[in-house]
Amino acid sequence: MQLKIFWVFFKVGMLGYGGGPASIPLVHKEVVDTYQWMTDDEFQDSLAIGNVLPGPIITKLAGYIGYLQSGWLGLVNAVFAAILPTIILMIVLLKLFTEFKDLEWVQGMSNGVVPVVGVMLFLLTYEFLEKAQAKTTWRFIILFTLGAFILLYVIGLHPAIVILAIVIFSLVRREGRI
């Protein structure tokens, strides 16, 4: 059993490109279709519960499914299988990279990648705004984002404070618009 759990989430971690959300279909295929640890409904429920919580989705799914299958050991096993291989790869490759940083062309690589990552973050920015907008209007979202900008960068509040304030506000206020 532990071996199967490991194998499933190892594959999910190694084959899931484009971050956590992109690997959800992979988990579904293994857990529901191949091994039938869960029905489709149970899987959708687990996913929905996971989405209520902050933090990366894949580790929540892996840990939860591992836990349902075989307790705490299953949880630890599934999480490790999903994340450890890529963490090790990451450390080895970046260390290698720093090792040769004095070389001019390696420094060039480091510089070349900065605008590319910038564009990726810019696209993520847009994606987050668009998803928020889908639940309300662009007008509201633009004004709200402007407000957040002032709080974060003009007044200089820590992002954690702003987010916590939103969490508290959303949970205590009465039902209403937006």
């Binding site: 971690g13 190694m14 899931g16 490109y17 484009g18 956590g20 959300p21 690997s23 429920d45 929905a48 519960i49 209520v52 902050p54 933090g55 990366p56 894949i58 580790t59 929540k60 939860y64 836990y67 949880l75 999903a82 994340i83 963490i87 090790i88 990451m90 450390i91 990279f97 420094q107 060039g108 690589m109 480091s110 510089n111 070349g112 990648v113 900065v114 605008p115 590319v116 990552v117 564009v119 973050l121 696209l123 993520l124 920015t125 987050f128 705004l129 928020a132 639940k135 979202i141 957040a148 820590h158 954690a160 702003v162 916590l164 939103i166 969490v167 959303s170 949970l171 206020r173 937006i178």
Partner: protein
């Protein structure tokens, strides 16, 4: 003491990063670059570049590497634990309660309002990267890289790992 700092640096993104792994990027940057000063903005960009080029969740790759850089294997374990455990344990213990919350209006409001905050944080980091690239690599190269990677990602749907490789090769040859 350093372990406590690492724990804090990754616990905050772990419990406030609504919207999956990518939303923790700016929150991690805030702690690791701005607050504790463990890396420069350029080094953080390298971490993101490799993180985007490798498979698997981005939040744990960032935590594992940065934790390791700052305080070795134990540092990596603390960082990854702080990223993963809080929400995972909540999920295991409170599954029933969370199931009731998931469809409610309150929860929808929460995610709708948090997303713009994450967006502005991400946007500012993107802007920082562009402006540091302008000074490091010059305006022409930066513009070429920006436009080329935008078109590749958005218009031609080229895999992010390949776009990162393009940036690396371009930099190695021309910068």
């Amino acid at each position: 003491m350093i372990y406590l700092q690492i724990f804090i640096a990754f616990f905050i993104p772990g419990v406030l990063g609504y919207g999956g792994g990518p939303s923790s990027i700016p929150l991690v940057e805030q702690e690791v670059v701005q607050n504790f000063g463990w890396m420069t903005s350029q080094e953080f960009a390298e971490v993101l570049a490799l993180g985007n080029a490798l498979p698997g969740p981005i939040a744990t790759k960032m935590a594992g590497f940065i934790g390791f850089e700052v305080a070795g294997v134990i540092g990596a374990i603390v960082a990854v634990g702080a990223t993963v455990l809080p929400s995972l344990l909540l999920m295991v213990f409170l599954a029933g309660l969370l199931y009731k919350i998931k469809g409610t209006k309150k929860f929808e409001t929460l995610t709708t309002l948090i997303r713009p905050v994450i967006a502005i944080l991400l946007g500012i980091i993107a802007f920082d990267f562009f402006s540091s690239a302008f000074t490091e690599s010059g305006g022409v190269h930066t513009l070429i890289l920006m436009i080329a990677s935008f078109l590749m990602l958005k218009k031609f749907d080229i895999h992010p790992a390949l776009v990162i490789i393009f940036g690396l090769v371009y930099g190695a040859l021309l910068l």
